[in-house]
């Protein structure tokens, strides 16, 4: 009985879990304060203690990168912290923009390992 509890506690305390989250799933582009530019508001949550930087990307349906603006294209975010960010897209690109993604930037390792890069993509909700 006690050994089972010790194993369970050991598992809880020794296993470090890391996660990458981004919301909303379906962001909406709305006109920004700049004429001819639309904006989507996003939230990134970093629960990966091995990652500090996430790169933002905007893509078409065929995964072709589209130009966009944000306060920074690579977000620095601490462990267990959430960050709100805005993505500005030119109105002429709005119809082509389908995905807003954040991708983790992994550190170069000196060990013989496979590193895991995570990417989450939200799909832009288009007004019909």
């Amino acid at each position: 009985m006690y050994s089972k509890i010790i194993i369970a506690l050991g598992f809880v305390f020794c296993t470090s879990l890391n996660a990458h989250e981004m919301t909303p799933t379906y962001p909406k582009l709305v006109p920004s304060y700049i004429e001819g530019v639309s904006v989507a508001k996003m939230k990134l949550f970093n629960r990966r203690n091995d990652v500090e930087y996430y790169e933002i990307g905007v893509f078409t349906n065929n995964w072709k990168a589209l130009p966009f603006a944000s306060t920074t294209k690579v977000i620095k975010i601490g462990y267990n912290k959430a960050k709100l960010f805005e993505v500005y897209i030119r109105s002429r690109d709005v119809a082509k923009a389908v995905y807003i993604c954040t991708e983790s930037k992994v550190y170069k390792s000196t060990e013989q390992v496979t590193l895991i890069s995570s990417r989450i993509c939200s799909k832009i909700k288009q007004d019909k």
């Binding site: 879990l17 996660a19 990458h20 989250e21 013989q112 390992v113 496979t114 895991i116 995570s118 799909k123």
Partner: protein
């Protein structure tokens, strides 16, 4: 007597006991979380081979994907086809790898394995149910035909993606 009565009445009317509801609010919205539970480790069973297979002394990578709402996301895994860092290699490397469904939080998720789509070094899963799914990614690299790998550290990157449908 009257003074005491007046004081008591004043106290009773002045101290008001208020019962205020203190609501706890929360919001459940569709979202995907990519949990990197175990980074893989390459074992070196033969001079020309690196492998994450436990029989070869390696550790397979384990990635958990949580989706809060059913049928909002698909998961995509890319197993390595090059080293992100390694000593200088003068010959070609033959890469193999796979992604399979491991543990599941809902029994129906076991069907993801049969329905997965594989092309090149990419495996896609349609996440039709809400909950957690663990994916196991393995990778093997063989240098030259049977040439010895130069000494040094080798790192490769697995890409785990969660894409809104």
């Amino acid at each position: 007597m009257i003074k005491k009565l007046a004081t008591a009445i004043l106290l009773m009317s002045a101290s008001s006991a208020l019962a205020v509801d203190s609501p706890i609010q929360g919001q459940v919205q569709s979202k995907c979380s990519v949990w990197t539970e175990t980074s893989g480790v390459y074992g070196h069973p033969l001079p020309y081979k690196l492998s994450t297979t436990p029989a070869d002394g390696g550790v397979k990578a384990s990635i958990r994907i949580d989706v809060a709402q059913a049928d909002y996301y698909k998961a995509k895994f890319t197993h390595p086809n090059s080293f992100s860092s390694s000593p200088t290699l003068n010959d070609s490397v033959a890469w193999t790898g796979s992604t399979i469904v491991g543990q599941v939080s809902v029994a129906g998720m076991s069907a993801y394995e049969a329905a997965k789509v594989t092309y090149n070094n990419v495996t896609e899963f349609n996440l039709t149910l809400a909950g957690s799914t663990w994916f196991t990614v393995s990778s093997t690299a063989q240098y030259g035909s049977t040439k010895s790998l130069p000494a040094g550290n080798y790192t490769a990157i697995i890409k785990a993606e969660c894409i809104a449908k």
